[in-house]
C-alpha cells in the first residue's frame, strides 16, 4: 500500500520511495527513507495535501507524491 492510503492516526513503516529527480531526493533528505516509521497526522480540508509525522516532526506533501511512497502498516 502507499502512504496516502493510511487512515488518520495510523502508523506504518516506509518500504520504498519511488519517483525520481528533485522530488525524490528532497523526500529522502527530509528523512523519508525505507524502515522509517511514519504516521498520517492530518488531511487538509480539501483532502489534499496531507500531513505526516516522522522523526519527531511534521511534513506536508501532496497526495500525488504520497502515492510514490510505499508503506507497510504496523
Amino acid at each position: 500500500m502507499t502512504l496516502d492510503e493510511l487512515e488518520v492516526g495510523e502508523k506504518a513503516f516506509i518500504t520504498a520511495v519511488n519517483g525520481e529527480g528533485a522530488l525524490r531526493r528532497h523526500l529522502l533528505g527530509m528523512g523519508c527513507i525505507p524502515k522509517t516509521q511514519v504516521e498520517l497526522h492530518k488531511v487538509a480540508p480539501m483532502k489534499d495535501p496531507i500531513e505526516i509525522r516522522l522523526r519527531g516532526y511534521l511534513l506536508t506533501l501532496r497526495v500525488e507524491d504520497a502515492k510514490k511512497i510505499e508503506v507497510e502498516r504496523i
Binding site: G21, R24, R25, H26, G29, M30, P45, P49, E51, R62
Partner: protein, 670 residues
Amino acid sequence: MMNFALIGNQNCGKTTLFNQLTGSNQHVGNFPGVTVDSKEGIMIGHEDCTIIDLPGIYSLSPYTNEEIVTRDYLMNQQVDCIINIVDATNIERNLYLTLQLIELQIPMVLAINMMDEMKANGGTIKINDFSKRIGVECIPISAFKNQGISDLINAAIQTARERRKPLRLDFCSGAVHRCIHGISTMIEDHALALHMAPRFAATKLIEGDSILEKQLKLTENEIDLIEHSVTEMERECDLDREAAIADMRYQFIERVCKDNVVRAHESREYIRSVKIDTILTGKYLALPSFALIMALVFYLSFGPLGSFLSDEFALLIEKIIAFISELLLDYGLNTVVFSLVVDGIFAGISSVLSFMPVILVLFFFLSILEDSGYMARVAFIMDKPLRKLGLSGKSFVPMLIGFGCSVPAIMSTRTLSSNRDRIMTILLTPFMSCTAKVPIYAVFTLAFFPKHAAQVMILLYATGILVGIFVAFLLKSTVYKGDPIPFVMEMPNYRLPSAKSVVLLMWEKAKDFLTKAFTVIFLASIVIWFLQSFDLKLNLVADSADSILALLGHGLSFIFAPLGFSDWRAATALITGFTAKEAVISTLAVLMHTTIAQLPAALNILFTPISAYSFLLFTLLYSPCVAAIAAAKREMGIKNTLVMIFFQCSIAWVVAFLFYHLASFIILWL
C-alpha cells in the same frame, strides 16, 4: 578580516540567530543573477568579522536555487568558518545537512538551538560526547532568549583562527564506505584542482550530481569506473544510489542520537501547535478562520489604524512641504524651478509616501503571521485550489497581499522556490485590485451608481479575480506549461515571533520603499510634471489643457474611443495613473477645473453610466503603477516586465471593449 557563513534548515531559528549575532548592523546581500535572499552583517563586538546569512536549506543537492547558491558560495568564497545552526528538538533531520557540510572540510561549529525548549520538555544532549562523535565543536544556544551567543561567537572565532576542520569523515562502513573511498581516491586530483574536498565530490557523484560531474571534468574512462563501482554498491546494499547515501547518513545520525540524545517527550510547543491546528487547519474551521484572520489584518491595515497613521503622516509631510515652499518663496526661487520642486517632485513623492504607514502596518501583521508559522498553514489549506491554476499553495500569500498593494506582494514572491511559479504569481498579482484604486471606484460610483455603490465595488473586485483566474489558465496552457513546484514542506510548530525580527523586517521594508520613492517615483514625477507644464515649443502653459500631456491624451484618445470614452481628459488621466493610481482622480479634477469633492458632478460631461463602468474596468485591469513595475522588474527582469505591461493593457482593453458593446447592445434592446 574573517568571513563566517550561517547555514541551517528552514524554521530552525536561523534568522533570529543572525539578528542576535549582528544586531541591526546588516544589509541585504546580492547574488548576481538569481533572486535568492541573503543578508550580510558585522558580528557584534568584532568589527573584523563579517557574517553572511545563507538561505535556509535541507540539503546540498543541486536542485533548488537556494541550494545551488549556498553550495557555490561555500566552494568559491573564502569562508573561514561555517556556523551551522540546528534545532535541538528536531535534531535528526537537521543533522542531515550537517553531515554534508562536514564533507566540505571547511572549519565549522555547530550551534544547537532551542536547547531551553528541549530541556524544559525533559530532553537533553550530552554535548561533549556528541561533539566528539561528529568531530565538530557544539555550542548549545537559545537564539530567541539570546543565550549562549557569546560562547558561540568565541568558539567560531577560535575555530576560524586555528582553521579547525571537522575531524570525522567516515559515517559508514561496508559497501557504501568502500564505494565512497574508491571514488574519492580516484577523483582526488580533479577535486583538488577545483579546491573541493574529494570526499564531498565523491558522495555527490554517487548521488548522481550531474552539475558536479561536469565541473570536475572527468574523463569518460573515469565516469565508467564510477558507474561500475556505484552499480556494485547498489547491488550489495539493495538500495539505489540516492537512497543508499541518504540511508547511510540517517543511520549514522540515528546511532549518534541513540547514544547521546535523550529525546524530549511530546513537547508543550508541539502539543500546543496540534491544538491550535484542530481549528486553523481543521476540516470545517480552516477556511472560515482563514477568512476571519485576513479580514482582520486588512481591516486593521487599511481601516481605522492604517488610515489614521496614513492621515497623520500625510499631514506631517504637508507641513514639511509647506515649510520648504515658504523658504523657497522667501528665497525668491525661479517660478518654473519652484513649480518643478513643489508641484512636480513634492506632490509626486508625497502621494506615494502617504501610503508608507499602511504598507508598514500591513507588513507588520504579515511578518507576524509568517514568523508565527501561520503562512505555512495557509499554503497547506490553499494548495489544492491553486494547483488547478498551475500554482502551489505558497503563491496564495503574495496574491492576497496584492489586494493591499502590488509592491509588497511582488516583493514577497521571493519566498517561492521556482522561477516559473514566481513569474506566474507576479503576473497574476496586479489583477487583485489594490487599495490605490479604491478612490477611483469611490468617485465614479458616487457619480454614476450612487444607489448600487457596494454592488459595483464587489463586481469590480470579482471581475479582477475572474480575469486573474482566466489569465492563469491561459499562462498554464501556453507559456508556463509544466507542474507547480512540489509541495514537500515542513510544518513548523507555532512560535511567538521575535520582536527584534519583526522590527528589523519593517525597517527593511521601509528602507526599500523609501529608496523606491526617491528613485523611480522621483523620476516619474519629474517627467509627468514636465509634460503637464510645457507645450511642444517648451513654453510654460497656464492651463494644462495646452500641455504636452494633453496633446498625448488627444493623440491616444482614439485608442479609448471604442471603449466608450473618447475625451482626451480621460486618456490623460489614465496616463498619469501610470505613476500612481490615485493620480487618475487628481488629474481628472485638475483637467475639469474642479476639486476632487466636486468631481462626481462634473464627470457627467465625460461619461455615460456604461462608458463610466467601461472606464472602471479599464483602470481595474490595465498596467500596474510605476512602483509595482519597478518591483516586478527587480524580481523577473525587464523583458518579462514589458510583456506584463503590454499584456495587461491588452486584456484591459478587450474586457472594457466587450463590456461596452455588449452593454450598449443590451440597453438598446430593453
